[in-house]
Structure formats: C-alpha cells, structure tokens
C-alpha cells in the first residue's frame, strides 16, 4: 500500500525526534550532576558491550532460523580480532578481515 506524503513525513519526524531523545537524554540529564564512581566505571564497559553485540548481530544476518554466522564469516571474525589485538589498527584489521572473508568464501562455498 502506497504511503501518503503526510503519513511518511509523520513517521520520519516521530522516529527522528525519539531517536534524538534517546541519544540526548543521559547527556543532558546528567549535566552538572556528580556521577557516582561505581556507575562511572560501569559505564566504561557500555561501549565494548554494545559494539560487540552490534558486530555479532550484524554478522548473523537475518531473523528467526535464518540467523547465524557462516564459516567464512567466523574465520573473518577470528582474523579480524587477532589482527586488531596484535596490531591495534582499525585499518589493518578491516583489511585482514575482508581478505579472509573473500578467500574463505571462494574456498568453502
């Protein structure tokens, strides 16, 4: 069913406004307030936890039974993690991961 221009605009504006609110709420609400040390330390782990979750979820692909990592992707992830850990370089880890993915895809599938 074709969506009218007004309905499409309303959806876009509502999702945009709520997305901004989610990005801003803690930054604006916690301004000028002392953050307890245990909370501040716990917040340091949010980045690694969310980004790792994002990486594995994106790599798993679809929804339901279709979700899962293929062997080429598993191998690419292993090489990416190893390269990033040893070299501490985003560019090298991306290059190594993608190269592994292409080679493994060509060999396995």
């Amino acid at each position: 069913v074709r969506v009218s221009a007004w309905a499409a605009l309303a959806i876009t504006v509502v999702v945009g406004a709520m997305t901004y609110a989610m990005r801003a709420i803690a930054i604006v609400a916690l301004a000028g307030r002392a953050i307890p040390v245990p909370l501040e330390r716990a917040l340091r782990n949010v980045g690694p936890a969310v980004l790792a979750a994002l990486a594995f979820n994106l790599a798993a692909g679809g929804e339901g039974d279709a979700a899962g990592m293929s062997w080429p992707v598993v191998l690419a992830f292993a090489v990416t993690a190893l390269t990033a850990w040893r070299l501490r370089s985003m560019l090298w880890s991306l290059g190594a991961g993608m190269t592994t993915l292409w080679i493994a895809t060509a060999l396995i599938t």
């Binding site: 916690l30 949010v46 790792a52 994106l58």
Partner: protein, 240 residues
Amino acid sequence: VGRGWSERIDRRAIADCVPLFLPAIPFGFVLGLAITEGQMPMFIGWLGSPIIFAGAAQLAVVTLAGTASIWAVVTAGLVINTRHLMYSAALAPTFQHQPRWMRWFGPYLLIDQVFALVFLQSDRPPAEFRRYYLSVGLFFCLNWQWTVALGMIVGPVVPDSWRLDIAPAIMFLGLVVVGLQRRPQVLAAAVGGAVALATAGLRDRLGILVGALAGVAVGALAEWRVARAEPAVDVEEACA
C-alpha cells in the same frame, strides 16, 4: 578574528573516519535501493537521512512502511535505536565538561561509528574532545546524505559477491578489540557478542539490546570484583 573552518577541523579525526566510512557506503547504497523500491514518496524516504540519521532504523522504516501499521513502523525504528540510550549514558561523564550548546547539539551526531571513535578519545581535554567529536560527527552526517542519494541511483549495481554487507560488522569488531584495555571490558565485549549472536533470531534486531545489556551486566560485576580486590592489592604493595 575567528579561525577558518580548515583550522577548526581535527585532521586526525577525519583520517580515523575514512576506514569506518568505507563500509558505510554499501550500506547507504542498500538503503538508497530500498527507498526507491519502498512505498514512501522517494524524497521523504531520503529525508530520513538528515532527520533520523541512523541507517538501520531508516532501513526498517522505509522497508516496513506500507506493509505494516504506522505504529509498527515507528516502534521498529525505535527498538533498533534503543542502543543509543547506552551511548548517551556512556558519554554522559565526558559531556559534563562540555558547554550547553554542545550537550544539546552533540547527541544529534551520535551514531554507531561516531560513538565507536569518540569513546576511545574520552580522556582528551574538553576542547580537544569537542573538536574531535564535531569533526567526526559532521563528517559522517554530511557524507551520509550524499551516499544515500547516490545509493538511490547506483544501489542495484554493487555485486553481492563483494560481501560488503559484512564489512560494517568486521569494522565494529575491529574497533571493539582495538579499544580493549581492561579485563572487565574484555568480559563485557565477549558476553555482549556471544549473547547477541545467540539471540540474533529475535525480531527487529532486539538481540543487539539483549546482548548489550548482558555484556554491561557482566562488565559491572567484573568492575565490582576488581574494586573489591584493589584494597587488598594496595595492602600487599604497602607490605612489600
């Protein structure tokens, strides 16, 4: 006399952006293709780029619009973006030292890639952090607009065999590992990734939120154990 724009830009920040932006290009093309094939008017589909500025949520909105109720479309977009709440919480201590205008404008730019880059720079002095953050954020924001527009034209041309759909995941994994410094962070990342993978079948990418919450919880537990162990270490060091 104010400084020129070229002097205000953090060139290292732009260099950091490039390897993260390259994997975003095919994603922008996929989104552009979805806009052209979706049920929304094309211009409003593209307008989601400056208004929502979140690729996965935009993709959900343009894909679902016309095939689900308006509330289902809105809810899907918001569920996908829930992780931004955690980005906001994680950066709140750093933003405490920023001026008011930055605390209100900065969050608009807070997408996955921006968070991944700026989180590693949280220890910088406030002015330097602000320069880095704005350079990174505006780079992604401005380039995202033309990428999606271009994707509406050339999206169908990129061959699937390039597997560029996996590139963002590999990039995020590399970023996580590069930034790991302490044991609680390693545990948080390992548990977050494992749980997100185990729950990847959930609808609307809810597995990201479930995995992230599990990782944060385990990380907090590890922090608590480290904090408990620290006084004992101090005593040992004092005795030595």
